[in-house]
Structure formats: structure tokens, C-alpha cells
Amino acid sequence: MKLTLGYFYPRELNLYGDTGNVEILISRAKARGAEVAVEEITSVTKLSSDAMRRIDLVFMGGGPDSGQQQMYRDLLEDKAPHLREHIEGGKVGLFICGAYQLMGHYYRSADGSELKGLSILDLYTQHFGHAQKRCVGNIVCALPEDLLTSPAFANCNLTGSHIVGFENHGGRTFLGKGTLPFAKVRRGFGNNGQDKTEGAHYKNTIGTYLHGPLLAKNPHIADYLIARALGVEKLTNLDDTIINNAHAALVKRFG
């Protein structure tokens, strides 16, 4: 078994410990006996279709404005077709916060200016200015039925039917008809603080506002991504006593 992770823009987009997700994917895949390789894809990486095809799982985190400015042009001009092929082809991806927003149609700033996205996910994001509260805090969501009943998920080390994490975003995201939410908000803001949706789930790609070490707090999501990326139905169980305790305690405290 070999798992190749494509870690996009590790330096530009790594706010709030997002890199922990990569650490966790490596750790949990290796614990299942997989050989793991990490390809760091940066603004100077010239990505070929062949190189992209070797990648099983794409990870891209959120970044500060300065970081997003550094990679934005490269993303649109160089990486966009490869990411589109990856996602549309049903391969696995995890996009957090800023990266999630960029997979949509556009990001409209408070001053009305628009930043074009890749339009892979049917969604858009708008910042309504500082009159509207920034979406900051602990968040707990319920996973939808379709995810919970999918074979890859059902056979994972299922910690529970919820996810828990922390969100911190000024932009509010609205999903189009072509995109399902990743989860349903129980406590927190999620995509926009209005419609109770959180993130997006399209084919085998997940976009979410739960930043930082999402996978540390939610080992079932990590295993779901790994199982999908390896193309196996069942992963062996790990000793997740402390990890499961952490997940349960956080869901209880913040849910």
C-alpha cells in the first residue's frame, strides 16, 4: 500500500497549525502499514499531469492574507487544471478555510472587490464588512447520513457522528445547488451563521472551516480520507483511547 500526499503551499498556507493534519494523515496511514510519501507543492513547483496523477490525497490549508497573495496567481495560472482533474476525477482532497474558499466561484471583499476562485466547488464567499461579527469559536457539527452510511466511513474507526473543531473566518460562504454541505452545525457559525451548513462535500473532496488540526480532534475523518485515498474498505483499528476521549470530551463540552 502506498499513499502519496500532495501538500499544497505548505509555507504560504499554514495558519493555526493546519500542518498538523498532514502529520496525522502520515501517522495514521503508516500505522496501517502504508508507505507514505509527501510531495510539497509550492509556487515554484512546476506540476505536470503525470506528477499530479501520482498524488492520492490533496491537502491545502488556510493562510494569512500575505500568504494567500503569494500563492494566488500561481494557483490560478498553474495549479488550477490539475486540481480540477484531481477533484472531478473523484480523488481525495481536504481544503481548509482559505483554501476551501478558493475552490469556490469567488470571494467578494467588504469593499466589493472580487477574488476569482477555481469554481470547482459550487459555492461563493462574501465578506460583509466589520459590521457583521467575525465567525470565531469552537464549533460542533453533525455529519450527514450519506457520509455516515458510506462503506468507507462505516468501516472506519468510528468515533461518532459528530465533528468538533475551531473556526475563525470573516467571509461567509453560501453553497450552490451542486454542492452538499460537509456537516450540519449544532453549535457555532459554519459556512455563514445562517443556514446551519458547514463546509462542502463534493465527490471525495471535503472543504471546511474547521481549521487547524481538524483531523486530530476527528480521527474518523482522517480514517475516511485515508481509506478513500488507499481505495480500501476497511482500515485496521488503532489504539485510539486518548484520541477518542478527547473527541468525546470536546463534543460534550462545546456541543
Partner: protein
């Protein structure tokens, strides 16, 4: 009005202390600012001519204490917010509590450490003779969002700073170079050399930088390094920042580690043999002063976490003990579920019953540092 405020402040301070509600070092200022929002501006003329402001993500309390130590060694009297209360209310409390009943501030020097986000607002009220900026890294991102934002506010403040002020900056953080260009007055730089730690009780690369900054600040205050360097020998760590004491027959060293940079630096010190310890205690809280978001523990080097834990007993506590335990586990540190307990007194009790625990290095974040001091020393701050 001013004398009345002093009376009010001193009374409030005693009242708060008497009732055991805290150290009473922020409430009085809070009250006074409610009555006079620009009180600090009004008081600025009464402050000593030499006023030092110190800001940055890490090292503020230690560096301020160092400068005070160097100044006092030369016989200067110093007004200083030594409790680390570094927001407006803490600084105003310090000034009012430091005044005598005639309203005078009879000091040769004032030293204030200032929260990095508060600094630009504070500089609108008060012009320092020396402004020392130590460093800037990620801290409490749920409150400050991005370091870029802090830096842009600093740039604005430095642009407006009087040219009679003296700016002190690190020569090793490229991101801060723009501050020197933005300021038209005199700028000096401190470096990373560890030579000045020789013969002192201070350890660690981060403390070397703090010392270098303090020596430079002292020099701009008229104390030449030849005079100040020898007096470093008698310096004792600021509370919770490397302080060491014996309790319950064990030695404890408290190493405040409240963001990725400060935890990395302390782990570097531990694994490099700079501290003698057989047991490690991590304490992670998510109270308001800590920031609610503990995601930053994944910005800490897993290699350093593993190295510092090798061959040591590891305990984990705090409101986010389980998050920290998971983080350590993914870094490759083996943790027994029994060694993980949110309740700090319980963990201390468990450690007390373990004879192999002799020298404990504690890595707490901010509010948990206060809690461990209360649990072991009976007081949170000074």
C-alpha cells in the same frame, strides 16, 4: 481629581487583596479609566523623563525585569508593572499605585511591558524615551487573527513616534526590519549572541536575546555595558518564566510556554540539557487570557516534543489536557491515559505519590502557569 483617583485606586487595590479577589493590579486602573478615559495622557507629564516601553510576543516580562535589575543595580529607583499586567488597566494601575499621597511619582525611571496589540493605542497617550520591540510571532490568533495585522499597527505607531525617542529592535527578525525604516529617530539593534549569559543563572537562546535587548536598553539609559554586564549575575528569573523552587520534596521549574515560538524555545532548552529534569508536566488551558483556540500546539515541532520527552515521565493537565495528550501522541511521545487529567491538583497529587518524580519541568500556558503557582506556592502572581 487626580489625588482622588490615587486614593480610590489604592483603596480598591487593598480591598481586592483583602477579599482575596486577586492581586488588585488591574481593577483599580479599570475603574480609573472609566472615570477618565485619557488618564494616561494626563499622567504622562508626571512620569519620569526616562520611560521605557517593552513589547513583543515573547520575553516582555523577563526583559522588563532585567532592565529594572540593571537600573536598580546602579541605584536608580524604578516604577515597573512587574506583575505583567500589560494592558491599559494594568499600566494605569501601576502608575496610580506607584504615586505617593501628594500625587508625585518620585522615580528615576519607568519601565512598562505592554501587550503587543495594546502598544499602538498606548503610544497615542504616552511617548516613551526608549521603545524596545523584542520579536513578533503567532500568539492568540483567535484574538489577533494574523501577525501581519499587529505588524501594520506597529508600523503606524512607529511612524508617529517622536524622533527624540530611541527605538530598539532585533537584528535577526527580517519581518521587523521595516520598523527601522519607518522611524526617523535613532535605532539600535540587539543580536543573538549567547556570550552575555555566561556567569548568569539564565539559560536558553531566547533569554540570550532578552539579555542583549536589556543591556542595549540600559546603555541608552546611560548605563554602559561594562557596568551593567557584571550585575546580571544576581538576576533572578521573573515569576513563571524559568523560576525554580522546591515544594513537596521535589524541585519544580516553571517555563511559561504560551505559543508555538515559546514552547519550541523551551523544548530546545530542555532537550539541549539546559535544565535538569526527570519529569515533564504539560498544562494547557483555553481561558480568555490564553486564547480560546489551542490549534497552535500543532505548530510546535514534533521532533522537539519527542526529544524533550525521551526517557522522562510525562504528565498532562489543564482544561485542554486531552488535546495536548493527543498532540504528544502524534509527535511520537507515549502517554499513559492515567497520566492525563484535566484537574491540576489531581495530577500534582499523582506526581507526589510517585517516588521517581524528583525534578519537574513544567510547561504551562498563561492561565495554567498562574494555576500551578497557586497550587504549589499559594499565590498566582508575585
Amino acid at each position: 481629581m487626580y489625588l482622588l483617583l490615587i486614593l480610590l485606586t489604592k483603596t480598591a487595590n487593598r480591598f481586592v487583596r483583602f477579599l482575596g479577589l486577586g492581586s488588585g493590579l488591574t481593577w483599580p486602573g479599570h475603574l480609573a479609566l472609566k472615570l477618565r478615559p485619557h488618564l494616561l495622557r494626563e499622567l504622562a507629564s508626571r512620569l519620569p523623563a526616562q520611560t521605557v516601553l517593552i513589547s513583543g510576543t515573547n520575553g516582555k516580562t523577563t526583559t522588563a525585569k532585567l532592565i529594572r535589575h540593571l537600573a536598580e543595580s546602579q541605584g536608580m529607583s524604578v516604577l515597573h508593572n512587574s506583575s505583567g499586567a500589560n494592558l491599559f488597566n494594568g499600566i494605569v494601575s501601576c502608575v496610580l499605585l506607584g504615586a505617593n499621597w501628594r500625587g508625585e511619582l518620585p522615580y528615576d525611571l519607568a519601565i512598562f511591558e505592554v501587550d503587543e496589540f495594546t502598544l499602538p493605542k498606548l503610544m497615542k497617550e504616552l511617548t516613551p524615551s526608549v521603545l524596545a520591540l523584542l520579536n513578533l510571532s503567532r500568539d492568540q490568533l483567535d484574538r489577533h487573527w494574523e501577525t501581519d495585522l499587529v505588524l501594520s499597527k506597529w508600523l503606524e505607531a512607529v511612524r508617529g513616534l517622536s524622533t527624540t525617542s530611541h527605538l530598539i529592535l532585533p537584528d535577526f527578525q527580517a519581518e521587523l526590519a521595516g520598523l527601522a525604516e519607518a522611524f526617523s529617530g535613532k535605532v539600535s539593534f540587539f543580536g543573538e549572541t549567547e556570550d552575555n549569559l555566561n556567569g548568569t543563572s539564565l539559560r536558553g537562546a531566547f533569554n540570550a536575546r532578552n539579555v542583549n535587548c536589556a543591556l542595549l536598553a540600559a546603555e541608552t539609559l546611560g548605563i554602559p555595558q561594562a557596568l551593567s554586564q557584571p550585575s546580571l549575575v544576581g538576576f533572578e528569573y521573573a515569576y513563571g518564566r524559568g523560576e525554580r523552587f522546591t515544594r513537596q520534596g521535589r524541585s519544580w521549574q516553571i517555563l511559561l510556554a504560551k505559543n508555538p515560538e515559546s514552547l519550541n524555545q523551551n523544548l530546545q532548552l530542555l532537550q539541549g540539557g539546559g535544565v535538569s529534569y526527570d519529569t515533564l508536566l504539560y498544562v494547557l488551558n483555553d481561558n480568555i487570557p490564553d486564547g480560546l483556540d489551542v490549534s497552535w500546539i500543532y505548530d510546535v515541532s514534533p521532533r522537539l516534543l519527542r526529544k524533550a520527552s525521551e526517557g522522562k515521565r510525562v504528565y498532562v493537565s489543564g482544561r485542554r489536557a486531552l488535546d495536548m495528550a493527543v498532540r504528544l501522541q502524534y509527535a511520537g511521545v507515549s502517554i499513559s491515559p492515567k497520566a492525563v487529567q484535566a484537574d491540576l491538583p489531581q495530577v500534582i497529587k499523582a506526581m507526589a505519590s510517585e517516588s521517581a518524580v524528583g525534578e519537574v519541568a513544567v510547561l504551562p500556558n498563561y492561565s495554567s502557569m498562574l494555576e500551578i503557582r497557586r497550587a504549589l506556592l499559594g499565590r498566582r502572581i508575585l
